[in-house]
């Protein structure tokens, strides 16, 4: 079996287009696509599952063949029987509300018999040990669990070709390792796997061939032996992430060092409405002012809830914060904390970048506009003053949100997973940015699973455990 991309030119967007890419994947091979953001990894996957050109229009030249048949001329539902895809965003790839219905979905669409579907589901559930996830509401699962269901539903469909589009972007260490187990299982079953990822460590030893892309072209193709022979500096030169999978809890950093100015949190408790179990439960915690503190812990350990409480967004969290001999209740914390959320797009409201910063600036200031422009220049956003915030790239939105935080004069900046789905270069950019913000005298708390980011910029670290 082979896929052949003969001189492709799929221009969905300029930055993600492919130029003259030819790739042949053998039956049962595990091919790994990587490279900087916008290099065209996802585009290749979309060509294989037929979403390009059927769903995302563009100009395509050349052809994509699976078992000698052209995917681009075939209807999507015909391709669906052969190719299964696990997408990046766990929140938007489910059609059903219940997990069992989700597993059955593609088989139901193909009109397989009921008995057959039941048999497939039972086998997959046993295979992947996900009995505890069955018959649940998908909206009540963690991201890691959702991604397990997405993988399982590809397995139930029995596709021979499995595509993974950055499936680990939102996952913590444990969930990523669980994903690795699933991939190992697929390899044993002889499935053909094509994965696109920035985080290469968790799959690096399993892959048969690594394909490194840049600007829509294949720049390196490494066989199994070749990729194992690479040194760290060679990897960095290719712009790749570390191949060592290190749990973020293993990075050695103090939670609080002698001489740090303390910010003391007391009695931070929070549980979801209707649930008894406390997801945040902190009696007393000391944070170092003026430092970058990494907040780590497994998916579902309450990291995001902790940030929400600290920001004063949870009304039912009665904790208090003490800093420079002043007590901050919930309302007061709202005024000194700023959170950069995972979905940065949801916190930008206006029609232009400049206006966005201006609504955060104190109204009385006369030269607010000048100051805002200066701030945007410092954060390399001065070229986009009139652009609509929603049209910026992910990294630019993040910088804009940080600019708003600085403009509003907040002293604490909290970031929720700022580097999920970023390549090495962009991750380092974020790290540098955080250091610059720190130099402005702002205390930073960064919730992250990214050990490399912690190494690159964090000075302190706290680990949250469930409850």
């Amino acid at each position: 079996m082979s896929f052949v991309y003969g001189s492709d030119n799929a221009a969905t967007k300029h930055e993600n287009s492919l130029r003259n890419v030819s790739l042949a994947v053998r039956d049962g091979e595990f091919v790994f696509l990587t490279g900087p953001s916008g290099c065209g990894k996802t585009t290749i996957l979309r060509l294989i599952n037929g979403l390009i050109p059927q769903f995302y229009p563009g100009t395509l030249s050349g052809e994509i063949l699976i078992n000698g048949k052209s995917v681009s001329d075939q209807e999507l539902y015909d391709t669906a029987g052969l190719v299964g895809t696990v997408f990046q965003n766990p929140r938007s790839q489910f059609y059903n509300v219940d997990t069992t219905g989700e597993l059955a979905f593609s088989c139901e669409n193909r009109g397989l018999s009921e008995a057959d579907i039941y048999k497939r589901i039972d086998e997959t559930v046993a295979d992947f040990h996900i009995k505890s996830l069955m018959d649940r509401n998908i909206f009540h699962l963690s991201d890691g669990e959702k991604q397990k269901i997405a993988c399982a539903s590809v397995s139930v469909a029995g596709s021979e070709i499995i595509l993974l589009d950055e499936p680990s972007a939102n996952l913590d260490y444990e969930a990523t390792m669980a994903l690795r187990e699933m991939v190992i299982r697929w390899k044993q079953q002889g499935k053909t796997i094509v994965a696109a990822e920035h985080r290469i460590a968790y799959l690096w030893d399993l892959i048969d061939r690594a394909v490194i892309l840049r600007d829509g072209q294949i720049v390196w193709e490494l066989s199994g032996a070749e990729k194992d022979g690479l040194s760290i500096s060679e990897l960095l030169e290719m712009g790749l992430r570390s191949t060592v999978q290190e749990p973020p809890t293993d990075v050695l950093l103090p939670d609080f060092a002698y001489g740090d100015e303390p910010i003391v949190l007391q009695d931070f408790r929070f549980s979801y409405r209707g649930e008894k179990r406390e997801i945040v439960s902190i009696d007393r915690l000391k944070l170092a002012a003026g430092e970058i503190t990494a907040v780590t812990g497994a998916n579902g350990a309450g990291k995001t809830s902790f940030l929400n409480c600290l920001c004063g967004l949870e009304k039912r969290c009665k904790g208090i914060m003490e800093y420079k001999e002043k007590i901050y209740g919930r309302k007061e914390r709202q005024k000194i904390c700023f959170m950069v959320m995972q979905d940065t797009g949801n916190q930008l409201f206006t029609e232009s970048v400049l206006e966005e910063v201006l609504i955060s600036s104190p109204k009385s200031a006369e030269d607010a506009e000048k100051k805002a422009t200066e701030l945007l220049r410092q954060l390399d956003l001065d070229a986009f003053l009139d652009r609509h915030p929603q049209s910026l790239s992910g990294g630019q939105k993040q910088r804009l949100a940080i600019a708003c935080a600085i403009a509003s004069g907040r002293e604490m900046l909290l970031l929720d997973e700022p580097t999920s789905g970023l390549d090495y270069a962009h991750m380092m950019e974020t790290a540098q940015l955080l250091k610059r913000v720190q130099a402005m005298g702002i205390t930073l708390l960064v919730v992250t699973h990214d050990s490399e980011l912690i190494h690159a910029c964090c000075g302190r670290k706290i680990v949250l455990k469930r409850g």
Binding site: G50, L51, Q54, F55, E75, L76, Y77, D78, T79, A80, G81, G84, T85, F87, R91, S92, Q93, F94, Y95, N96, V97, D98, T100, L103, A104, F105, S106, C107, E108, N109, R110, G111, S113, E114, I117, Y118, I121, D122, V125, M134, D135, F139, S153, N308, C311, L313, Q334, K335, C337, F338, D343, G345, N346, Q347, F349, T350, E351, I359, S360, Q390
Partner: protein, 247 residues
């Protein structure tokens, strides 16, 4: 113990068939909310109003049951208190009470339908009613879309609170605009990703879809459907001028 999806589906089976639920929604919407029928229908309507609450109890949806009941009690309370209230308050009580008592029952029934029906069950029921898939598929997406939109909405409201944008402070019109912009972008994005995912999983293939859910009419469905028919029967008799009972 090994997981058995067939047994699990059997266990999950709802108390009544989705088609019966739909029929009840329509009947309740017509008679209780729409207020069709004259004096003779009043006792029938009272009976119909109790039905969704009974069903919620049978399916052990305690929270929905309590919420519905609370609002209904509030509505009737207002209507009872109305004659003793002075001037303007009297009208307000009448209006609120009237709206609450009429709407709540239908909303509770709708909630029961959405809350106790899975997407698979819904599609299956629609197919048995010979609905074309061009109607069924968009409607089934609704089940999925409401919780998603609600989650996005909460996240945006939070972000606004954190940035210090509130009603009352700045111009209200602008605040609404601030909410709508990210809301629409994220809904469009999620919708697109959702369709892409559904298409790669063969939605829309021209084959007869199977459904693993268990639906079908049982004794309770027959009873409830007969009840619906009876309600319509009483109404038609009333229209024809037959007096069944004096109220």
């Amino acid at each position: 113990m090994r997981y058995c999806s067939k047994a699990a589906q059997e266990k999950r089976r709802g108390f009544i068939d989705p088609r019966t639920k739909l029929a009840l929604v329509v009947i309740i919407a017509l008679f209780v909310l729409g207020g069709i029928g004259g004096e003779q229908m009043e006792p029938v309507k009272t009976g119909l109003s109790a039905l969704p609450f009974l069903l919620l109890l049978v399916e052990r949806q305690w929270r929905r049951f309590l919420h519905g009941l609370l609002v209904l009690v509030l509505g009737y309370g207002l209507l009872l208190a109305m004659p003793y209230l002075p001037g303007v308050l009297n009208y307000i009580a009448l209006m609120c009470g009237g709206i609450l008592t009429r709407f709540v029952v239908t909303i509770v029934m709708g909630e029961y339908l959405i809350g106790t029906t899975s997407v698979s069950e819904f599609i299956c029921a629609m197919e048995k009613l010979y609905m074309p898939s061009t109607i069924t598929i968009p409607m089934s997406v609704m089940f999925r879309l409401f919780p998603t939109v609600a989650a996005e909405w909460r996240s945006i409201r939070r972000a606004m609170g954190m940035r210090g944008i509130r009603f009352g402070g700045t111009k209200a019109g602008q605040v609404v605009e601030y909410q709508m912009v990210p809301m629409m972008t994220s809904c469009v994005r999620i919708g697109e990703e959702l369709s892409a995912s559904a298409l790669t999983r063969g939605l829309g293939a021209p084959v007869k879809r199977t459904n693993i859910c268990r639906i079908g009419f049982r004794i309770q469905d027959h009873v409830l459907l007969l009840l619906c028919a009876a309600v319509i029967g009483v109404w038609i008799l009333e229209l024809c001028g037959v007096t069944l009972w004096w109220s």
